[in-house]
C-alpha cells in the first residue's frame, strides 16, 4: 500500500462530523424567510390597492367638478360690481390646477436624462432590507460575524452612483479588516489623500492611449471616445454582462486601456495560450479607487478604498532573489475565466504565489500586462484563465 493510499485509509478512519442541528435549523429558517420574502406579492396588504384606487377616484372626481368653477372664475364678469379677475389671479388658478392634475396623473418621470438617483426613500428601503437580513435571525453569532447583509440582486438593480458604492464598500471593508491592519489603516486615514478615487494618473503621460478615463459623472454620450469605441468592441467584450454595461455607460471600472510599448492599443481580452505580448495596462475598479488595503493576513491581500495611499501590491524585497507575486483570486463565485466580470464594489483577493507550487515557467511564458496602481508598477499575467499579478521591472 502506498503512502498516499495509507493516508487516505487513515484519514477515512476519522469520524464524519455532522453539522450541528441548531445551526442547521437557523440556516434553514433564514433560507425559508428569504424565499418567503421573494415569493410574497408586491402588494402584501390587499386593502392598500382598494384604498389607492378610491383615492384616485376621489381626486379625479374632484378635479372634474372643479373645472367648470375655474372657467367661471377666469371668464370676464358681465356685471360692473363683479371685479374681473386679475391676470395674476388667473395664473394662480391655472398653476394650482396644473399642479393638482400633475400630482394625480403624471407618473414619476425621475430625473432628467434618464439618470437614476437614490433619494432618502430609497435609502430607507435599503436600510429596512438590511435590517430584515436573515443574518439577524441566527443565534450564537459573534459580534464580529453579525454583519447584516442586504440581499441585493445585481441583476435587477442599477448600480448606485460610484461615490455611494464606495462609501458602502468602505463601511463593509472597515468591519472586515483585521486587527493587525488597523494600525496601517489608521496611518492611511491620517495621511493626506493624494488623489481622488478612481482617477489613476496616466501611466505614460506622452501617450494619450495609456491614460485612464477619469470619472467625470457625465453620461456616455458626453464621451465621444467611448461612444465611438463601443460599436467596434470585440464580441468577447460585448458578451460580458458587466463589460457591456461599462461600454454602454462609461469606462469607470475594469481594464481601461491596454497598449503595447509603442502605444498601439491592444484588445482587452486575454486568452490562455495566446502568443506572449508585452503590454501596458491601466486598471480601475470603483471600489479600488487609487488606494489599496494590504492586510497581509493569512497569505492573502484585500483591495479596497481604505488604507494608506500607495500601500498595495508592492512586494517586499527578498534576500534570496526569488520573485514574489500575488495570484488574483476573485471571490464570491466570480469566474476567473472572465477577468473583467467584477460586479459593483467587488473584492479581489491576492494570494501569495511564493512557494514551490507556483509554476513559474508556465506563467512567465504567458502574456504580461502591466498594471499601475498607486504608483506601484506591477504586471498581470494570464495563466490558465487566471490573472497573475506579478512584480516586474520598472517601465522606462
Amino acid at each position: 500500500m502506498s503512502s498516499s493510499d495509507r493516508l487516505d485509509d487513515l484519514y477515512g478512519q476519522l469520524p464524519n462530523a455532522q453539522s450541528p442541528a441548531d445551526i442547521d435549523d437557523a440556516i434553514r429558517a433564514a433560507a425559508r424567510d428569504a424565499a418567503a420574502r421573494e415569493a410574497a406579492p408586491r402588494w402584501s396588504r390587499p386593502w392598500s390597492v382598494g384604498l389607492a384606487t378610491a383615492a384616485a377616484l376621489v381626486l379625479a372626481v374632484g378635479i372634474t367638478l372643479r373645472l367648470p368653477d375655474s372657467a367661471r372664475d377666469v371668464s370676464p364678469g358681465p356685471s360692473h360690481d363683479v371685479a374681473a379677475p386679475t391676470p395674476s389671479a388667473g395664473r394662480e388658478v391655472e398653476v394650482t390646477e396644473a399642479a393638482q392634475v400633475s400630482a394625480f396623473a403624471a407618473p414619476d418621470a425621475g430625473p432628467p436624462n434618464g439618470q437614476i438617483t437614490f433619494d432618502a426613500a430609497t435609502t430607507e428601503l435599503a436600510d429596512s432590507a438590511t435590517a430584515r437580513s436573515p443574518a439577524a435571525a441566527l443565534p450564537e453569532r459573534s459580534a464580529l460575524a453579525q454583519r447584516p447583509e442586504a440581499p441585493v440582486s445585481t441583476e435587477s438593480l442599477t448600480a448606485p452612483p460610484e461615490a455611494e458604492a464606495i462609501d458602502a464598500y468602505n463601511a463593509d471593508t472597515r468591519s472586515e479588516v483585521g486587527d493587525a491592519a488597523s494600525e496601517e489603516l489608521a496611518r492611511g486615514a491620517a495621511a493626506p489623500v493624494a488623489a481622488p478615487a478612481a482617477v489613476p494618473e496616466p501611466l505614460v503621460p506622452p501617450r494619450p492611449i495609456l491614460q485612464s478615463t477619469p470619472s467625470t459623472g457625465e453620461p456616455a454620450a458626453a464621451d465621444p471616445e467611448i461612444a465611438a469605441d463601443a460599436p467596434d468592441a470585440p464580441e468577447s467584450r460585448r458578451r460580458s454582462g458587466l463589460f457591456g454595461r461599462l461600454m454602454s455607460s462609461r469606462r469607470k471600472a475594469g481594464v481601461q486601456t491596454v497598449a503595447d510599448p509603442a502605444g498601439s492599443e491592444l484588445p482587452l481580452d486575454c486568452e490562455p495560450g495566446q502568443p506572449p505580448v508585452r503590454a501596458i495596462c491601466t486598471f480601475a475598479l470603483p471600489d479600488m479607487g487609487s488606494r489599496a488595503v494590504d492586510t497581509r493576513a493569512a497569505g492573502d491581500y484585500r483591495v479596497g478604498t481604505e488604507g494608506a495611499p500607495d500601500a498595495g501590491f508592492k512586494p517586499a524585497p527578498r534576500a534570496d532573489g526569488r520573485r514574489q507575486g500575488y495570484r488574483v483570486v476573485p471571490v464570491d463565485g466570480l469566474d476567473c475565466d472572465d477577468p473583467y466580470e467584477f460586479e459593483g464594489p467587488a473584492t479581489i483577493r491576492f494570494e501569495s504565489t511564493l512557494g514551490e507550487e507556483t509554476d513559474r515557467a508556465a506563467t512567465d511564458a504567458l502574456p504580461i500586462l502591466r498594471w499601475r496602481q498607486d504608483g506601484a508598477i506591477v504586471a498581470l499575467s494570464c495563466a490558465g484563465g487566471d490573472w497573475l499579478l506579478d512584480a516586474g521591472p520598472a517601465l522606462p
Binding site: A17, V152, G384
Partner: protein
C-alpha cells in the same frame, strides 16, 4: 422526492423562484461537507459562525448564481472566502482541532483501537495545522468535500495543475508528519 432527485442547479433555480424545500434538499446534500471543511481548519466554535456565514451568503446571493453544473465549486469558493475572513479576523492560523469527543465510543474489547483513533486524530490535527493554508485548503476540500481537481481549482481560483501540485505536497507532508507521529503506522 423530486427535490432529492433534482440536480444542484435545478434545486438552486427552484430556490431562487421561492421554493424553500429545494434549499432544504440542497443544504442537506452539502451541509456536512462544509461543516467538516470549516471544522478541520477553524475548530468547532469558529466553524459554527463560518458555517452560518457561508450558507447565508449562498442565500443572500442566490439570484447571482449562474447555473453551470458546478454548484459545489461555487459553494466552496464562498466557503473559502469565509474561511479566509475568519482566519484574518484573528490574524493567526489556528491549528485544526479535532474534538476527540467525536470519536466513536470504544467497546469494552477494543480499548487499543479507541486509543489509536484518538492518537490518529491528534496527529492529523497537528499535521494539518502545520500545512500552508493553500495546501491544507485543497486537501480538506478533496477529503472532506469530495471535490474534483477542477472544482477545487474553481473554488480556490487556481489552475488545475496548481491544485494537483498543492495536493501532492500536502499529501507528502501529511504522510511524513503522520509517520513521525505514529511510529507504528507504515507509510
Amino acid at each position: 422526492m423530486q427535490a432529492i432527485e433534482a440536480d444542484d442547479d435545478e434545486l438552486m433555480a427552484r430556490y431562487v423562484s421561492g421554493d424553500a424545500a429545494a434549499f432544504d434538499a440542497l443544504y442537506g446534500r452539502y451541509k456536512d461537507r462544509t461543516w467538516r471543511y470549516f471544522l478541520r481548519q477553524l475548530g468547532e466554535e469558529r466553524a459554527r459562525d463560518a458555517q452560518q456565514d457561508a450558507w447565508l451568503k449562498i442565500v443572500d446571493r442566490r439570484a447571482q448564481y449562474r447555473p453551470q453544473g458546478r454548484f459545489a465549486a461555487y459553494l466552496f469558493s464562498v466557503a473559502r472566502s469565509v474561511l479566509v475572513d475568519a482566519q484574518r479576523k484573528t490574524m493567526t492560523l489556528v491549528e485544526q482541532t479535532l474534538d476527540t469527543d467525536e470519536l466513536p465510543a470504544a467497546g469494552a474489547g477494543e480499548p487499543r483501537r479507541a486509543a489509536r483513533l484518538e492518537r490518529l486524530a491528534a496527529a492529523i490535527s497537528a499535521a494539518l495545522g502545520r500545512l500552508p493554508i493553500d495546501q491544507r485548503d485543497a486537501f480538506v476540500m478533496q477529503q472532506e468535500a469530495g471535490l474534483s481537481y477542477a472544482d477545487i481549482a474553481t473554488a480556490t481560483g487556481a489552475s488545475v495543475e496548481t491544485v494537483k501540485s498543492r495536493l501532492r505536497y500536502a499529501r507528502g507532508k501529511l504522510a511524513d508528519a503522520l509517520a513521525q507521529e505514529m511510529h507504528d503506522v507504515e507509510f
